[in-house]
Symmetry: C2
Subunit: 239 residues, 2 copies
């Protein structure tokens, strides 16, 4: 058989594979959580922005109120840090939950980001939403008007959120000096050009002001994969 | 408890959910295949292109040679039509396979598109590739240089492809008159602007000429979800 042709498997090999796949499924071996941020950044240029332009891909994740955390992980539970995120004080926790959609399909290993907040929220990609059967609304974090809910399972209990399941609107965190450099204000929309083999320009990147942040664009995994951020050759943020 | 707060589930409810999820997992109930094409098109404009601009999202799928089809589905197996695709003669078949990646993770219900071809090929999104553990190369259909393989299971047997697993490069099918209208030639790159709440401009949309096609842009599910094609308010194809 020449190299161009796929190999035909013998019966014992087929049986072995079937057995392995079935065993894996029965054992409930499932994918580990995706890494919570994938990163692209380009060096500081003379005359450039006050902070380097950093683009991070946010994988699906959850934010929780302390009360829900205790239902999911037991009385007195606290988030424990796995890894710092780019913005100071933010972190990926070690705590993982399972999200259950309306058709009883599940996504396991959804990581909680810390610290706890005053609302619970689940941020998914449209790919995730289609899989779960949730028609995700596009929202800036914390805006839960007309948003669907979901059931969430932790090791010690489950909660049903009645709202707060969203696709996060693509956005850029900016401090006062970042906004001054780009000539924009809180709530404005900018564009992000990602050059490379899968080059994409994202419209409608919303400016989110906070005095203590550093410049950082957040896109989700659909967006990060569409533009293949890992192979980007240049990034540009503009009005 | 006020409306803003999620409902705490009682212990019997938690147990019921856990039982349902475990039962579902043990039964191997898995997602049905995604619909193979999602569609956006805008009406013909006076003085516009000879064919209306149609953008279709291709979900993960496989193309097969007749020989591999017989290994997967048994001697003499033929593809049977589920649904016509947009290009004349192309169709989504009723035949589904399971793709097994190098880490023994699987994606079930991958649809074969017909008719059979003179090469076998699997087209996945980067989201799929990350899940399976396959570093997908970006390729135009049929270019299998330096591409990885995968194991594919059908109801009657399995094959191991040594190559042909790709992310399809975004492309636009054009006839002679489409190329004349846009002033491009086979192999050129164009841009596709998708306006809407998740507006995106895709660079590097490759022109693929065939005398018998009608104008059609193909993007994958990562790209279709990144721009939320379903909610697009306008489409524009340009150099």
């Amino acid at each position: 058989m020449v190299a161009e042709h796929p190999t035909k498997l013998a019966r014992p090999e087929v049986e072995k594979l079937v057995r392995e796949v079935l065993t894996q499924r029965l054992r409930g071996q499932i994918a580990p959580p995706p890494s919570i941020e994938r990163h692209a950044a380009f060096p500081h240029r003379p005359g450039g922005p006050p902070h380097p332009l950093v683009v991070n891909v946010s994988a699906r994740h959850m934010h929780v109120r302390p009360a829900e955390l205790e239902v999911l992980f037991g009385p007195g539970a606290k988030l424990t840090k796995l890894k710092d995120l780019y913005q100071q004080g933010e972190f990926a926790s070690e705590q993982l939950v399972t999200v259950i959609g309306p058709r009883q399909r599940i996504i396991p290993n959804v990581r909680i980001l810390g610290p706890t907040r005053d609302y619970s929220q689940i941020e998914l990609s449209y790919t995730d939403g289609i899989y779960l059967g949730i028609d995700l609304p596009l929202r800036i974090s914390g805006n839960h008007e007309d948003t669907p809910g979901a059931t969430v399972m932790g090791p010690k209990g489950a909660i049903t959120l009645h709202k707060g399941v969203i696709r996060a609107e693509r956005h850029v965190h900016m401090s006062t000096e970042d906004m001054a450099y780009y000539g924009v204000k809180d709530g404005d929309y900018m564009k992000l050009r990602v050059e490379g083999p899968c080059g994409v320009t994202f419209d409608r990147v919303k400016v989110r002001y906070h005095p203590k942040v550093v410049l950082e664009v957040h896109i989700d995994t659909d967006e990060g994969n569409a533009c293949d951020l890992d192979s980007a050759t240049n990034l540009e943020l503009f009005k």
